[in-house]
């Protein structure tokens, strides 16, 4: 095991003081001189043709400085899928028709939010309502209304993954079962709503945008595409972000309309969504119908798996096509699957579109797979931990044509879980049960549907004469603690302290491209870039030190504890600060900088590295009310090398809150395209008294691809929570579910049906 100075040690947040004193500035907080406030007029219809828009009354309202509709925009369509232009299907403002309740048709900039809102009421839009479709199984029918004219049967995207021969394997299986699930949506529900400020510089024609975004680069590209501007003329800056969880990757109407309003008025414009807009008109988790068939030997060995998924895409693509691919991928993890076939279909419907949310397909897919494997285990009389152990991936496992797993700690994770459960959960109360779910997830994706020519992450390190360091990285801290991770990695590599480094994050003008915080990519991809940049500087410092020492070149030098010294003879060396001075002064004052970058190569179709693990949930069911109490959770995970244990724990626990929400109470019921509960009053999140005690165990492996061997952590753990809970409920009271959001009335109904069935049997 490596002995690091900083990596692996609990480190407090580099943004800590700012966040606990109220000094941290979020886009939500920002004001600029002469700034206007913008609001969006949204369609009340799920599907309608726009007949006419009359903005004349709104324009007359004192305080209103601009009113725009589709004709005031450059036109055309944009989206994240730049490599597949037909999937770039968003307009800045709807021109010919609206496709969901909430689709923006006009925008206003005014001197106050109140005036902007009043102006919205004065805009007259004449709609011709069109037949709408809300359910994917209806949307794919031949006679369904088309959401987008070019997409037959409303099929937005398809995915087919296949290896081996499933049909033959099913024939040879001792046990085959099919299960169908209906996985519901979930909203990211970040505490900071979508917020953007755009400021257009008339003289230069350049645009600066501050936004609550997961990816300044994606936003820069999206804006360039939508506004038909050169990327380099758009600067995106990400202030502190009050959470995102997948819902802030796309270029949303706040940023792009703020930009156009700024261009029109010559003043900065700020658009902030209210909470109702946040729930009803921002990206959410992809709901899906999922059918899964497995074939096993009688000892529980998996021979074949076949999966069919139809997702409810909503009105536009967002990142939904990636979710489609990944759902069909995560459903195979973390098991060796010799034969596999997957068909995924994403359908357009007349609802707010679904995209990526923490877990990116894994949460829905793993719910199905991990409850099913428990059902199979019960039928075959195999222990649920044993069946998972029997099928677990091992180092070097390859799914032909898809992915290869290098570091793989699932087996030791399973062993640790089994041991801990024996120690801690040996005695259960009445109506208590334990359930498990195994999981795995990517450390960033190898995909480039954004079509970037740049390395996936870049970083620059500048060392000043006094030894302080400026670290420039575009990576996004959206609360997950990546700012702290970047600084830790830079400090470890250079052998200096956290306090020596000043981070300059997330500004497209001053930092090298990073694709943003999604798919758990920052630690591995940006971490590698930061490490490489620091290493380049370290190399220069070491050369200077070596010259000064005059030693034989075979001696290796290290940088640690603010010294640069001979590794085998640590007493022979120099202070880091002295070497920095020599490096600059002795080199004609040349700036002491290092640049690093990272792109995964030859890493299959999915990810350069996979985190793995298993979760156990202990829950109690109240038979009278159907209430489920989650008492304790045990997580054993392999994330390669934990960079910051404090941050990792925080992240895992937060992911469990979201996973429990998926399992118990977060739901977006919709009627004719209208979301019925767009507020925290009615959209239930797990609160402090409902969180269980959580124990987290780390099984360190070392992934050669990650910085210091690190992989992702805590997007993976969102996925196993709900299925482990569902399995615990079965083990407690014997009821199964084909969907999530196990509210008490659902559980009670299932209990009553079971009771009735048993009574019926008893009578015979």
């Amino acid at each position: 095991m490596n002995e690091y100075s900083i990596i692996g040690k609990p480190t407090t947040n580099v943004d800590g003081v700012a966040k606990v004193t109220g000094e941290a500035v979020y886009t939500f907080d920002m004001t600029l001189p002469n700034m206007l406030h913008g609001k969006l007029l949204r369609s009340p219809h799920p599907h309608a043709r726009i007949v006419s828009i009359d903005t004349s009354e709104a324009e007359k309202l004192p305080g209103v400085k601009a009113v725009i509709t589709g004709k005031d925009t450059p036109g055309g369509k944009y989206g994240l899928w730049r490599r597949f232009r037909e999937l770039a299907d968003q307009e800045i403002l709807a021109t010919t028709k609206v496709r969901f309740i909430g689709d923006p048709v006009a925008a206003v900039a005014a001197t106050s939010e109140d005036i902007a809102e009043k102006a919205l009421d004065l805009i007259n839009v004449e709609y011709e309502p069109l037949p709408a479709v809300f359910e994917p199984l209806e949307a794919i029918k031949d006679d369904a209304p088309l959401v987008h004219d070019d997409f037959e049967n409303n099929i937005n995207a398809t995915r087919h993954i296949e290896w081996g021969n499933v049909d033959k394997a099913f024939k040879n299986a001792d046990y085959v079962r099919e299960d169908r699930f209906n996985l519901l949506s979930q909203h990211p529900a970040p505490m900071e709503v979508h917020s953007s400020i755009a400021s257009y510089e008339k003289g230069s024609g350049r645009l600066t945008v501050w936004s609550s975004t997961q990816s300044p680069y994606f936003l820069q590209l999206g804006l360039a595409d939508a506004l038909k501007m050169r990327e380099g003329n758009i600067r995106v800056i990400k202030p502190h972000v009050g959470g995102a969880f997948g819902g802030k990757n796309s270029t949303m109407p706040d940023s792009v309309n703020a930009a156009i309003l700024s261009m029109k008025t010559g003043r900065p414009v700020k658009i902030v969504f209210n909470r109702e807009e946040e729930f009803s008109a921002t990206e959410k988790r992809t709901a899906m119908h999922l059918a899964i068939k497995i074939g096993l030997k009688k000892d529980g060995t998996l021979l074949a798996k076949e999966v069919k998924i139809i997702t409810d895409g909503g009105a536009y693509t967002g990142l939904g096509a990636t979710t489609l691919y990944l759902a069909g991928t995560w459903i195979t993890f973390p098991y060796k699957t010799p034969n596999y076939r997957y068909d995924g279909f994403r359908t357009y419907t007349n609802k707010m579109w679904s995209s990526s949310v923490r877990g990116f397909g894994a949460v829905s897919a793993v719910y199905a797979a991990e409850t099913q494997i428990d059902r199979a285990a019960r039928d075959l009389g195999i222990d649920p931990i044993e069946i998972r152990r029997r099928n677990a991936m091992t180092t070097g496992y390859e799914a032909p044509g898809q992915y290869k797993v290098e570091s793989c700690g699932i087996l030791p994770c399973i062993d640790k879980m089994e041991q801990r459960v024996k120690e801690k959960w040996a005695n259960l109360d009445k109506d208590e049960g334990i359930g498990f779910a195994a999981f795995a997830y990517m450390s960033g994706g190898i995909f480039n549907w954004i079509d970037t020519p740049y390395a996936f992450s870049g970083a620059m390190v500048k060392v000043n004469i006094d030894g302080t360091v400026d670290l420039f990285t575009q990576a996004s801290d959206i609360g997950q603690g990546h700012n702290t991770v970047s600084v830790m990695i830079c400090a470890e590599e250079l052998g200096i302290g956290i306090e020596d480094i000043r981070l300059h994050p997330a500004d497209t003008a001053t930092t090298l491209t990073d694709l943003g915080a999604w798919g758990s990519r920052e630690t591995l991809m940006n971490g590698n870039a930061v490490k490489a940049a620091a290493a380049e500087v370290k190399k220069k410092l070491i050369e200077v030190a070596r010259m000064k020492l005059g030693e034989n070149i075979v001696y290796d030098l290290d940088a640690k504890d603010k010294r640069i010294y001979i590794a085998l003879r640590p007493e022979r060396g120099f202070s880091y600060y002295d070497i920095v001075k020599d490096a600059i002064k002795g080199n004609d004052g040349e700036p002491l900088i290092g640049i690093g970058h990272y792109t995964p190569h030859r890493k299959g179709m999915v990810s350069p590295a996979y985190a793995m693990g298993i979760m156990g949930v202990r829950a109690k069911v109240d038979r009278e009310t159907g209430q489920v109490e989650v008492k304790e959770v045990i997580v054993v995970h392999d994330c390669g090398q934990t960079i910051n244990p404090l941050g990792a724990r925080g992240q895992v626990e937060g992911s469990i809150q979201m996973g429990l929400g998926f399992g118990l109470c977060e739901d977006l019921p919709t009627e004719n395209g209208l979301i019925l509960n767009p507020s925290f009053v009615d959209y239930k999140l797990i609160r402090i008294r409902e969180m269980p005690q959580i124990e987290l165990f780390d099984v360190p492996t070392y992934d050669p691809e990650g910085p210091y061997g690190a992989k992702e952590s805590a997007e993976a753990t969102t996925a196993p929570t709900a299925p482990a809970l569902a399995n615990a409920i079965y083990n407690a009271v014997g009821v199964e579910f084909d969907s999530n959001v196990l509210r008490l009335e659902k559980v009670l109904k299932a209990l009553k049906e079971k009771e009735a069935k048993e009574k019926g049997k008893g009578r015979r």
């Binding site: 941290a24 505490m191 609160r687």
Partner: protein
């Protein structure tokens, strides 16, 4: 028609004229520039806007500014003693009790009000007092631990 609002915020006296329907959170953030207090929900259901009014924690989004007339308000900005953090703030940092930080001001103010009234709360008492505070990042357990830690520090 605007009415006079005379109140003390973080130890400083203010004399403003505000519309009757202006919320306390709006005056704090937009008039006084104290952006540390956030709002998040439009429905009084998340407590991100929590501040202390005459010693009691209140949701500043659910109170008209004029209701604070003649009263004292303490916001997150008033907690630290110059450069020296309040023990609750330090405890939040040391226990990683925040991630994105957006709900944090409200959490800290509520923790202060709780510890002022009940210096040795049990875990259950902490959870009850903090039940109204929504957090999407932390899963709450580390917040409870930070408050328990803060209680110890304040007694030391």
């Amino acid at each position: 028609m605007k009415k006079e609002l005379k109140f003390v915020v973080n130890g400083e006296s203010y004399d403003l004229w505000v519309e009757p329907n202006t919320l306390l959170v709006q005056v704090l953030r937009d008039e006084l520039g104290l952006k540390g207090t956030k709002w998040s929900c439009d429905s009084g259901s998340c407590c991100a806007c929590a501040v202390i009014l005459d010693g009691r924690v209140v949701k500043s989004c659910s109170i008209f500014a004029l209701q604070a007339n003649g009263k004292e308000v303490l916001t997150i900005e008033g907690l630290a003693n110059g450069p020296e953090l309040h023990p609750i703030q330090q405890a939040f940092i040391d226990n990683w009790a925040f991630q994105c930080g957006f709900c944090t001001s409200g959490q800290i103010m509520a923790a202060k009000a709780l510890l002022d009234e009940n210096p040795k709360p049990t875990r259950e008492e902490i959870q009850l007092a903090m039940d109204g505070h929504l957090c999407r990042c932390t899963g709450y357990n580390m917040i409870s631990e930070a408050i328990q830690d803060a209680a110890k520090r304040l007694q030391a």
